[in-house]
């Protein structure tokens, strides 16, 4: 966990200092996408290699759906309150600009 926070912080500092040119950033982004697929592949393999776990996927998927939907609804509810309090005319002002 410490390493990921340090990695993000180091990235922010280097980004602020504009150390990397556009081409390097493009390649870093491409490799980052490759890393995402490596992560997903490993996550899949972690589930697949555990036969006991694999049998639980249908149940876990259902629980995940309920949990994810609840988190979205909770956030939408909070946003509704915040908009009513702090930016009730956001859309009108945005259209005017």
């Amino acid at each position: 966990m410490t390493i990921i926070i340090l990695a993000i912080t180091a990235g922010i500092v280097l980004g602020l200092l504009n150390v990397f040119n556009y081409k390097t950033k493009l390649w870093l982004n491409r490799f980052s996408t490759v890393c995402l697929f490596i992560i997903l592949m490993c996550l899949g393999a972690k589930i697949g290699c555990d036969k006991e776990m694999l049998n639980k996927v249908p149940v876990l998927g259902q629980q995940a759906f309920i949990l994810g939907s609840s988190a979205i609804l909770g956030t939408m509810g909070m946003f509704y309150v915040i908009i009513k309090l702090l930016a009730p005319h956001f859309d009108e002002e945005d259209e005017a600009e």
């Binding site: 966990m1 990921i4 926070i5 990695a7 993000i8 180091a10 990235g11 922010i12 500092v13 280097l14 980004g15 200092l17 950033k25 870093l28 982004n29 490799f31 980052s32 890393c35 995402l36 697929f37 992560i39 997903l40 592949m41 490993c42 996550l43 899949g44 393999a45 972690k46 589930i47 697949g48 290699c49 555990d50 776990m53 639980k56 996927v57 876990l60 629980q63 995940a64 759906f65 309920i66 949990l67 994810g68 939907s69 609840s70 988190a71 979205i72 909770g74 956030t75 939408m76 509810g77 909070m78 946003f79 509704y80 915040i82 908009i83 309090l85 930016a87 956001f90 859309d91 945005d94």
Partner: protein, 198 residues
């Protein structure tokens, strides 16, 4: 993109099922963390490179909104996740832990599966991926109702993967809040996970 992501997991599951056993998990964890560290580094560079966008939002009213929206996302996500435990049967603390991923499915699933359990890590992956997948559908729909509220489903993804969609559906002004919301949430996810895993 989403199809490719889901397809990769299915391929990974098939390969894991066919060629690996449970003893391969530590190696998979090390590979995951190394890839994740690199992704975090690149995400940091993107954040640091976008300071001009942040400067444009420096009015008191916008600042208050910029603070309130991520705060609302955290409270709403954790609250929603907490209440879901009455239906799912997952423990309240575990539900809140999954909710604290705030849509950052790669980070939350890896951290939770490594430091808690593969089972909860899998739930974290699916639950947080649902946020991103459903956001692609919900953002254009919600933007018709209210521009700012369309940011709500996205969570941490509103800074990067969902930002182009927010710009298209709700415009640049909303996109600035979307970026800040995602930026703050991306910084908060590792902190929240650390705190809740203790």
């Amino acid at each position: 993109m989403i199809g490719a992501l889901l397809g990769t997991i299915v391929v990974g599951m098939a390969l894991g099922y066919a060629f690996l056993d449970v003893s391969a998990k530590p190696l998979l964890d090390d590979t995951l963390m190394a890839a994740l560290d690199f992704m975090g580094f690149v995400a940091g560079i993107e954040i640091g490179s976008n300071r001009s966008l942040l400067k444009r939002i420096c009015t008191p009213k916008n600042m208050a909104l910029a603070v309130a929206l991520p705060l609302g996302t955290v409270i709403g996500s954790l609250g929603g996740a907490y209440f879901s435990h009455f239906v799912t049967g997952i423990g309240a603390a575990d539900s809140v832990l999954v909710g604290s991923g705030l849509g950052w499915y790669s980070l939350s699933s890896v951290i939770i599966s490594t430091m808690h359990s593969t089972e909860l890590g899998t739930i974290a992956f699916f639950a947080n991926m649902l946020r991103e997948v459903s956001s692609f559908v919900l953002i254009p729909i919600l933007a018709r109702w209210h521009k700012l509220i369309c940011i709500a489903p996205g969570g941490a993804g509103t800074m990067d993967s969902l930002l182009p969609l927010v710009i298209k559906a709700a415009g640049m002004h909303t996109a600035m809040f979307s970026f800040i919301n995602g930026l703050v949430l991306s910084l908060l996810v590792p902190v929240l996970l650390s705190l809740l895993l203790q």
